[in-house]
């Protein structure tokens, strides 16, 4: 097949699209998100009559149906927030590492956050939501730095293969360590296990609120790093030639991504593959310019996670599939597809 050779012309023609068309796409995504939001509030494992939905939105909590809808509102909000955070974080990570396979799950960042939280809960008895988030962010940051350092050693820098292998190796090791930490503590094992599945079910405003400042800062840093990522995409030398301080640009953008991943993981548990899938899909829509790619990934991530969560509620009725499972099933085939499109260097 000649797919790799077909790729550049296709991409060029899309990148050549006018900004007007891109704005139109953006408006379309906003509309899609709104539609999905409405769908998410109205559908679920329980059928609720329209009257009850309207009453619940007006604040009514009188029937079971109204109560169910009331639970869906924070859940929908969390799915949107987590999705936009992970979508943006994925795009930023792909830019920072210049690596098409970068994803918080593949790079082991999620497992790092899991391990940090597990250690915090088991050994230091952390309980407050703030402490959870700080711990998760610290774990995510340390793991990201560790994996990137290992993956970028030697010839060729951080190739997709080296980064992915370093991430997977770290993930396997950290999973063992999570087990070792959690196993002696039957009292917390169940909670940590279910948190590790990754999901937005059972969300409450009280749980979402502490993560908001972190997400806000992360979103701001991420969205503002578009110009830097565009320079980095030219290669380190060219970027430096354009007056970019390469290391600083990387560090700042990566910090944004880590804040987003850490805070999201602390609240939802690890949700994989979203950060991989969304930027690639958005690149097909708007081309490689990060000034467009970043906002698109943010919105696209929210849409995809929300859609995955709705699907998880419908597919397994009357039970629910955790959204982390759904994204893994959408994301893994997509990952394989991305790998097959790349002309990855044989070493």
């Amino acid at each position: 097949m000649t797919a790799p050779d077909l790729h550049p012309p296709v991409r060029r023609s899309i990148a050549g699209r006018s900004n007007g068309l891109r704005s139109l796409w953006l408006a379309g995504l906003v509309a899609l998100l709104a539609g999905l939001g409405a769908l998410s509030v109205t559908t679920g494992s329980r059928d609720v009559a329209w009257a009850d939905i309207v009453a619940a939105l007006a604040g009514g909590r009188d029937t079971i149906g109204q109560a169910a809808v009331a639970l869906r509102i924070p859940r929908t909000l969390l799915a949107m927030l987590a999705g936009s955070a992970l979508g943006l974080a994925g795009a930023v990570m792909q830019g920072v590492t210049r690596n098409p396979l970068a994803d918080p799950g593949i790079l082991g960042v999620n497992t790092g956050a899991s391990l940090a939280v597990a250690i915090g809960v088991a050994w230091f008895n952390i309980a407050s939501a703030d402490a959870y988030i700080w711990t998760a962010i610290a774990g995510a940051g340390l793991t990201a730095a560790f994996v990137y350092t290992i993956g970028s050693m030697g010839r060729g820098g951080a190739t997709p293969l080296k980064l992915a292998l370093a991430g997977v190796a770290t993930s396997i090791a950290f999973s063992s360590l999570v087990t070792a930490v959690v196993l002696p503590r039957n009292d917390i094992a169940g909670g940590i296990r279910s948190w590790q599945m990754g999901g937005v079910g059972g969300a409450t405003f009280e749980r979402i609120l502490p993560a908001m400042p972190f997400l806000a800062v992360g979103l701001a840093i991420g969205l503002l790093s578009a110009r830097r990522l565009n320079s980095l995409a030219l290669g380190d030398e060219l970027a430096a030639g354009l007056g970019e301080r390469v290391a600083l640009a990387r560090a700042v953008a990566a910090l944004g991504a880590i804040l987003l991943c850490g805070a999201t993981t602390a609240v939802c548990g690890p949700i994989g593959f979203l950060g991989l899938v969304v930027p690639h899909l958005c690149r097909l829509l708007v081309g490689p310019d990060y000034r467009w790619l970043l906002p698109f990934s943010t919105l696209g991530g929210a849409c995809l996670l929300l859609a995955a969560d709705i699907a998880g509620r419908i597919v397994a009725r009357p039970a629910e599939l955790d959204v982390g499972i759904v994204t893994a099933f959408i994301g893994a085939p997509f990952f394989v597809w991305v790998v097959m499109q790349q002309r990855i260097r044989e070493l």
């Binding site: 090791a173 063992s176 087990t179 279910s194 893994a328 097959m340 070493l347």
Partner: protein, 340 residues
Amino acid sequence: MTTPLTATRARQMRYYRLVTTILLALMTVLFVLTLSLGQSFTPPGDVIRVLLGEQVGGASFTVGQLRLPRAVFAVLAGLSFGLGGVAFQIMLRNPLASPDIIGISSGASAAAVFAIVVLSLKGPLVSLFAVIAGLAIALLVYALAFRKGAGRTRLILIGIGISAMLESTIAYILSQAPDWNLQEAQRWLTGSLNGAQLGQALPLLGALIVFGSLLLSRTRDLELLRLGDDAAAALGVQVGRTRLMVIIAAVGMIAIATASTGPIAFVAFLSGPIAARIVGPRGSLLIPAALLGATLVLVGDYAGQFLLPMRYPVGVVTGALGAPYLIYLIVRANRAGSGP
């Protein structure tokens, strides 16, 4: 001119035989030691008498019922993981291309969990499920990776992606299991020898003999594959056919072991590189790696049971011990620029 070469070759062969013998002795000693050590000490003499079928007061139960099944499973599973793992590593010429990283172990594990939890199957049927699933995953990864010609790098990456999906599947099925319990979950995520029964060791032994001899009969072809596909083909190796046979044999072995102990973390991955450090280019890595696999599982299980403040399944120990070595390997390989 040939004389010094022949002498070198003979010296290498002597070294290789010596190392293999030492590894075999080490494994045997550890096997006997794990039978006599535990909560209480049983003299090796009593152990041997129990093994010979005599009734020894006290020792018959602890050794025969409690320790022997564990140790037998440890050896059989360890041999399978070590041999299957190193076969993959040699075939793909990358120490990181081991079955536990490219999704074969998790495929077998997912199938076993599905067979047990959803279909309520037991025993040999579970193994059959695991083998079929492991083979299907291996062939899928292989077909996707080699569709457009050479794709060893692509194979590893595709395996990583599919592995992530399978891990999610395992986690999900386990979370849906009615009598959900953490010990059982651990077995399918990291591997454990708890609940080993001697009667169930037979399929493991059978698989090891059948698939193991298949692999060993391909030793020469595998060694030549280390030189590269083209060089091997020039030397008369049928590359495609050898690959397919190695995949079937190695996957069969690993899947059956996984169906009985779970995917004991990192054993398939670690045995090969350690064997390569010891043996070097002096001979085939297959047998030393298999012996090292068994040694690792024996040591890991003993440590998990008696050396730590609480009992851990063997997979947690090998996973935690293997991690630094894995990272060291990646760092060293990256520095040398020879891969991955």
